[in-house]
């Protein structure tokens, strides 16, 4: 995923020991979702607050979606445009490259994170750039660009307010749209007091935002280059579109002569008119706004400046071959599936251990090699709410179920879970065994002490009372009233 050797260089280069912040990312190797989520939910009040914060965003999304009579038609079109684009991606990328080049941009191709980081660093070092401002880009997070550049003496300042907050804390974003959603304003106040000299104890969001505005204004004015992500790239135009509410992508690219925009291959849409569909869906799905404040279309370099576009594969072309998981490449990174997910809301973004968390991250994570991310497809109730709100109609809960099958078959599920599933399958395969198991369970619930029942019922019984057993099964009831079937 990222370049391990370079990340290690950055971490080893006199880096201070990691500070643990409340609700923040834990140090050490990723332990899998259940253990990481348990750490987060140990602070019950914070987990509850996190849940409510995200639900508030979900409600705003619902209100915005309900205002458009054509909402479902837009989702349908978005799904079709993306499916069409992915089926013809090579041709559209060539068209995009031709048009962008004709407009004076330079297109670079990166096979993986290492290619991407090297290309960006070479562009910067060839121009003697040591001060960079960057607007939000999950791709550069995925590639580990910041530590790579920092290890080579380049200062990279994340300029989205939420990203600057987590950067100050030495953390990655915990949510792709709301990077600091897990942090309380009092904690941000204390952080800004330390980093920016704001008044001790001050936690008013307006005051803290104003302090960040002043601090980042200095960084914008001093920057020698601006790096941005890309929301959409348009084949027939050679344009890239970047959407922000703060205006940080515009500030970061309007001042310095060099603009580097980094994008995954899947950001491509065929035609400019497609943007109408996606821009109507994106902000409504993300935050409930009718559109982002700044939806900026870069159609070439500014006069006397340079525009470089870095197109990154990093596993995307391989994912394209995988049915059904290829549909995850349609994602436009709105975050709606996270805001609605009952597991994400209660377990927090860091419990996923991936750049992109939540339901979509639980599909993308295992695709990069199962490992610790093999737990992610199980971090779901399969309620389907994610698929219901997805603006490009990715069948997320079906994909999570498909991953479970694949991971269990491939031996990536924990031994206990695999054994439990085997035993359950064996019981369910025979009507006699099923009836006998039911009788046994009803008797056990009646006779065994509560503590032992809770222990036998695994994680489920840890915080729940099991139901009182019914006096008879449906089979017994039927036999009593209708005779033997």
């Amino acid at each position: 995923m990222s370049a391990p050797s370079d990340a290690a260089v950055a971490a080893g280069a006199g880096a201070p020991p990691p500070v643990h912040h409340p609700g923040g990312r834990q140090a050490g190797p990723y332990p899998g979702h259940p253990a990481a989520a348990a750490r987060f939910t140990a602070d019950v009040a914070r987990a509850h607050w996190h849940d409510e914060s995200l639900w508030f965003v979900r409600v705003k999304r619902d209100r915005a979606a309900a205002q458009l009579p054509a909402w479902e038609r837009l989702r349908e079109l978005a799904e079709q445009i993306k499916a069409h684009a992915l089926a013809n991606l090579a041709g559209y990328l060539e068209e995009f490259e031709r048009n962008a080049t004709a407009r004076g941009a330079t297109v670079h191709w990166a096979r993986d994170a290492a290619d991407h980081n090297r290309i960006v660093h070479e562009l910067l070092s060839a121009r003697g750039v040591t001060r960079v401002v960057k607007s939000k880009s999950m791709l550069t997070e995925e590639c580990g660009l910041n530590p790579y550049l920092e290890a080579r003496g380049v200062e990279v300042v994340d300029t989205d307010l939420g990203e600057r907050i987590v950067q100050f804390r030495g953390e990655p974003p915990s949510h792709i749209v709301l990077p600091a959603i897990h942090i309380k304003k009092e904690e941000i106040g204390a952080l800004f007091h330390e980093k920016l000299g704001t008044a001790a104890g001050a936690s008013d969001p307006k005051y803290l935002t104003e302090a960040a505005r002043g601090h980042l204004r200095e960084k914008f004015l001093a920057a020698q280059a601006g790096i941005t992500g890309v929301n959409f790239a348009v084949a027939d135009t050679g344009a890239v579109v970047v959407c922000t509410n703060e205006g940080n992508a515009d500030m970061g690219t309007a001042l310095p002569p060099l603009h580097i925009a980094c994008m995954g291959l899947e950001k491509l849409v065929p035609r400019a008119e497609d943007l109408g569909v996606f821009l109507r869906l994106l902000a409504r799905s993300a935050t409930g706004q009718p559109v982002t404040t700044y939806s900026t279309h870069f159609l070439g370099p500014k006069p006397g400046g340079e525009l470089h576009l870095v197109l990154v594969d990093n596993g995307r072309s391989a994912l394209l071959a995988r049915d059904p998981f290829r549909r995850a490449l349609s994602c436009i990174r709105c975050g709606a599936c996270m805001n609605t997910c009952p597991v994400f809301r209660r377990s927090g973004g860091y419990s996923y251990g991936t750049t992109v968390p939540g339901p979509i991250g639980s599909v993308l994570g295992p695709a990069q090699g199962p490992g610790a991310h093999a737990t992610l497809p199980f971090a779901s109730t399969l309620c389907g709410s994610c698929a219901d709100v997805c603006p490009v109609r990715i069948d997320l809960h079906h994909q999570l179920l498909a991953w479970r099958r694949e991971l269990v078959a491939g031996g990536h599920a924990p031994a206990g879970k695999t054994l439990a599933l085997r035993v359950t399958a064996w019981i369910f395969a025979s009507p006699w065994r099923f009836a006998a198991a039911g009788r046994l369970a009803r008797a056990a619930l009646r006779l065994l002490p509560r503590g032992l029942v809770a222990r036998l019922s695994g994680a489920w019984g840890r915080q729940r009372e099991l139901p009182a057993p019914p006096a008879e099964s449906f089979r017994d009831l039927y036999r009593r009233t209708h005779g033997r079937p």
């Binding site: 054509a70 935002t209 703060e246 001042l255």
Partner: protein
């Protein structure tokens, strides 16, 4: 270009079957009063929409606002509106615009559904003028308001446009601290749309 060829070959090898590009029908927004909807949308995104009969009235309306009263350094790209004190065409380096108080910009197109105004490069000497001032005012003709983004892109003909363009919808904002909406993150602290006619 080994990487390029490898990537394209992999994409071709792995390409699934897909549907044709769909016709973008059945999505058009319709409003009984386009201009009233636009004004309401601008207000909903935190901006102010003032309807005025002509440019002279736009100038008077702008000068009556507190954002103008305190503005010393003003760029205006609309002749006769706002009283420019800085000639943006004479500015070589956009860093010189850092302490700009007010930009008066011209939008060629505006969108009723979301309050967005299309501002583009060729009519602006510097991209920074759209984002760096403390306050921004946008002058747009009532006849240039279209219902939704589909109509906007159809009218824009983006492939034929040079350099850059942006949809600006309201003032700069953030809610990154506990979901509390704060106006004035990095860009303009206020956005006033002067709708002519």
């Amino acid at each position: 270009m080994a990487a390029r060829d490898e990537i394209l070959a992999a994409l071709r090898r792995n390409a699934p079957a897909g549907p044709p590009h769909p016709a973008l029908d059945g999505v058009a927004a319709a409003f009984p009063d386009l201009l009233a909807q636009f004004a309401q949308a601008v207000a909903a995104v935190g901006g102010t929409c003032l309807r005025v009969p002509d440019l002279a009235a736009a100038d008077a309306a702008l000068r009556a606002l507190p954002i103008h009263a305190g503005a010393r350094r003003v760029v205006s790209l609309v002749a006769g509106v706002g009283g420019a004190t800085v000639d943006a065409a004479a500015v070589q380096d956009p860093h010189a615009l850092a302490d700009l108080d007010l930009s008066v910009l011209r939008a060629d197109l505006a969108v009723a559904e979301n309050g967005a105004c299309w501002i583009e490069g060729p009519s602006l000497p510097h991209h920074a003028l759209a984002v760096i001032p403390e306050h921004v005012a946008v002058v747009v003709d009532a006849a240039a308001v279209v219902p939704d983004l589909h109509a906007a892109y159809a009218a824009l003909d983006l492939p034929g446009r040079p350099r850059w363009g942006l949809f600006l919808s309201g003032p700069s904002k953030t809610a990154d601290i506990e979901q509390s909406l704060v106006i004035g993150a990095h860009g303009a602290r206020s956005a006033t749309v002067l709708l002519i006619g």
